[in-house]
Symmetry: D2
Subunit: 347 residues, 4 copies
């Protein structure tokens, strides 16, 4: 059994990790920390977990205790993993960070977008960006994994087949993304109230969202050069789900939709958690609710030069905790699908 620690288990990525780990046959949660909820029983906070972790109580983070785990997940706001990762790594514990702390390779860039100095720049060289569909081999050897963000997962998986093959103009990419409200976390904010976010739709952070540099970094690697990306996130009145609508301009318009379809199917043929639907399909976010799947479909409207890729995930699963677990499975040499086998909850 893999001994698991979770730092910061009071948010949505935390409870989602716990939900998934409850079904994992080879992992066991040994410790869960929260400064604010120390002493509270996990099940009193998240009654859906009653009967699963009845003895688990939030404790104040203690690196000795955490350091006795095989792996520690950080389900924390940015900055926390910076301060604890080095010590845990030194004790031989693997670290899987669901926050943004190690996603961006350039510490200056990170500091610019997050408004504070990078707290562990020395760890950046060894941190592996945990997108298995791109970095599976590196993940196997990693000590420190940066789990991709939700928008970045849906967007990169949707665009990289086009970019890796140089089929589209990398300087004119658009990602028009729609997220459920859980993407904003469990913090008490007026803008996330039912009465504010319900029955309404709005764009936000159009000037610049923190996921932009992360997405661009991944797309550059796929394209092998510079990219120009416009990223417009929207808040949608649903709890879970991201729908990325991706626009890219074909360089050579003679390629036809069936060739592109074949390309996507080949690219993801061996990926257990990417589902390429038939060209012209319309994936629904609810089809992946609670499931560790990125489901996508490609379109070429009016046979023009603009390719439209529709890519959906559950932001808390393939966009966070499910992907984190997928990384853990790879890291420990397990079947990548362990604990991640459930279909989406529909309706």
């Amino acid at each position: 059994m893999i001994k698991v620690g979770i730092v910061g288990g009071t948010g949505y990525t935390g409870v989602e990790l716990l939900r998934l780990l409850a079904q994992h046959p080879q992992a066991e949660v040994a410790v869960i920390t929260s400064r604010s909820e120390s002493g509270v029983r996990l099940c009193d906070m998240f009654p859906n977990l009653r009967g699963y972790y009845d003895d688990l109580v939030f404790s104040v983070p203690d690196t000795n205790v955490l350091g006795s785990c095989d792996v520690v997940f950080f389900a924390t706001p940015h900055g926390v993993a910076h301060s604890l990762a080095a010590e845990l790594l030194a004790s031989g514990t693997r670290v899987i960070d669901l926050s943004a702390d190690f996603r961006i390779k350039d510490a200056q860039e990170w500091a610019k977008w997050y408004g504070q100095p990078h707290g562990a720049a020395e760890l950046l060289p060894e941190a592996v960006y945990g997108l298995p569909e791109v970095n599976r081999e590196k993940i196997k050897e990693a000590r420190l994994i940066a789990v991709p963000g939700c928008y970045p997962t849906a967007t990169q998986l949707g665009l990289i087949p086009l970019l890796e093959n140089g089929l589209v103009d990398p300087l004119r990419l658009i990602a028009d993304c729609k997220s459920g409200v859980s993407g904003a976390g469990r913090g008490a904010k007026v803008s996330s109230l039912f009465t504010e976010a319900g029955e309404s739709m709005m764009a936000y952070s159009v000037k610049g969202h923190r996921h932009l540099p992360e997405i661009a970094q991944g797309l550059r690697l796929a394209a092998g050069g510079e990219v120009g990306l416009t990223f417009v996130p929207h808040l949608t009145p649903m709890i879970r789900g991201i729908h990325a609508t991706l626009y890219a301009s074909l360089i050579d318009s003679s390629i036809d939709l069936q060739q592109l379809q074949q390309l996507y199917e080949n690219r993801y043929a061996n990926e257990p958690f990417v589902d390429v639907m038939p060209a012209g399909s319309h994936p629904e976010t609810r089809s992946v609710r609670g499931a560790n799947v990125c489901r996508m479909a490609i379109h070429r409207p009016q046979d023009g030069n603009l390719i439209v890729v529709l890519s959906v995930i559950d932001n808390l699963v393939k966009g966070a905790s499910g992907q984190a677990l997928q990384n853990m499975n790879i890291l420990f040499g397990l079947d990548e699908r362990l604990g991640l086998g459930n279909p989406g909850l529909l309706p």
Copy 2:
């Protein structure tokens, strides 16, 4: 492996059965029928199941094929199981009926509420009402199981500890129940549109709902005599979930809340799918979303004589397909929890 057939797999109880069976280690879906969708691939209709049943295609019901299964689930409108059950039973197949066809023991009563003659009254004596918390021993020996309705499950489980112990006036029971819209099924009805059922709350069928005689029948058995029940169902703007708010008048007001709490805890101590929360708790329907659990709590407001029991289920799981699978597990001598282990999806 148990060979499973499903009649009428295009509704919500059908797709939910398939979702749960996809994770069941000892059952395999061999055939799924639908007259209207014959020839359609299951996964084209329910894309959340892509990758799970890729070869399964809806077929026209054929009793020879169905009769080769170990068990056949009916996830059909009422009346269908009436016409097919006898033939299947004759071929040695067990029948688990999710419809209302065999729930009410009195064929006349059934005919009155469903507006048509009972089509298989000769099977009523052997039909077992599949509420494991009441009938587990009978279920083990059954050939034909009538899975309880959603409202009846939440209401009976909430009230029977009081009635079995003669603690409340059986003639003054009130069940004020709130259901998500999936309870109305997947049929195209104006009243179930997002634009009609969304952002609104209403009672319906206050004059008399078809679940009333079913609930009353179960409560009579628990009380060992007549009951008087007022049942008011409401439509609530959520997809899944039933919240039953149950009112009963104490006969002896000297009993205190902690004694009642103990009574409930004892009654359900060995039940894997009933969770009695501490007295005074407020169970949320989302805590059981997608899970085969009935979660409840008791209250005694202002220390008066009126006991209030709050009882929640997911209408599609403990209120339908999960309970059906629980019955199958019991029937075939399996661990009752197989395939039903996942926690609720929260948030």
Copy 3:
């Protein structure tokens, strides 16, 4: 033009007052206060009001400025009106308080439920409970009006015809009420997040909710004696609306449903904002969304002794700001319907 001041205009009852006043032909908002938002333009906070109050800016409450108004509305948490009302009344300004400060006549009772001493007990004798259907004549002469709470409005209007006529047992009343999330206000609370309150249903405060003594006080007046009321509020995943399901036991079972229907129709025949639907109807909360209407219907299930009344309002309109405006119209001798004429927004 009536010169209007609003204290505490940043919550939902505040913005709703402003929405309604924007259409009122004989009132004009002169001042709106908020300590926390002082200096902010109203329209920057509530963009639905752009074009209506472009010059209005939140200011720190100043009793001189407020005292120059003909009427001041308090759309504040409890306690605020206590501290300011006397001074405003002294300056000749009428006060219409949407908070709970003057609803309960007994200062001790108030202190018990609100956990603090009553701050203006000397004003209680003259405060008029602003339920026009009961107190219209007193409202005409009032200086200080306590606008009823949302649950109390729906519940009292639904039950008083029965109690005024002594038709039901006053000691066995049940109000099972369902509220939209806006009833919890615009404060940033985890329990009101879209991700917490969405797709779920739960009861709350079953032990005792602050509206209980207010409702009981009103029902006692209608009954002319003691009442026993069990009040169970529920949180429902919708923004606006209250659905009260009210249960009362007939004393004389020989009265029939049509007699009761006639009684209700007569009781409210001259009320512009109470709509009695035909007996057996099922009012929807959306039918009163945005409208100053209490719509109700009576039922007698299975011709038993239990009468069920279904009563719906928009908690922010007839349950708060619309009723406040109705009070203002009465107070100033205007047509009671001014500014309150719009139908519900359906769908």
Copy 4:
């Protein structure tokens, strides 16, 4: 008083027209037709209108009766206005058609997208496209008005300032639009069920949506030449609202955001129902719920060449019935704002 007839009043644009007309001081609904609901009282179908049109009963369409009206609104599926408009116009009645029948000037194009021959091509030359911000003068003189579709209204108003001034490449326009479910009408369709459309997001008709040729026609007029438009509509889990996210590439990158802002403000300076927010704002659909407003804001992310315009409307108001009434006001020489003065319903 203007005597109004409504053909097809059982859908959402019909009930919305009635809601708005209930508050219009100079119009009166004389007749409302529906073949399927003939004989039904309007208020029994739409209880929000109880007290407003208590004598109005659906009748079978009769051109004599309709021809006695000053104006007839068609709130019907496409094809109906084709068959009745000529006769009504002959009797001197003005026709305001909310359907798609007269929006597209090219009858062949219409036939291609709607899959049937155009039924009244001879009326196309005189039909006026009822977008007041473009065609106000023509509307004043019109006999037959084609009210724009919902997506076309939000998209055209958002893009025409750029196109009229030749600032962007007209061949690379993208409209990524999100609509509430009421856009799909009140018909009983599985895809519009609460259980299907709730808690999910999906694109649809990416291959080609019927609003595409209508939008393109309007944009060509603004651009004075060909346009290339990719239009991707999405279904969003809310009842009302359209959020159009519009992408256009600047031709001359030296123009700055403040100049663009000025351009938009000037273009709509005299428009009562277009609200240009400060550059960089994020309009919410709820801010226009129930209101006849198109609210928009422009962005220039990362100071690049791509301009992003966010444009929101209520699809049933400015996108249908409100705009129809605005047209009526213009046509009859009334204040354009009559009956359309209410602010959005927020929250």
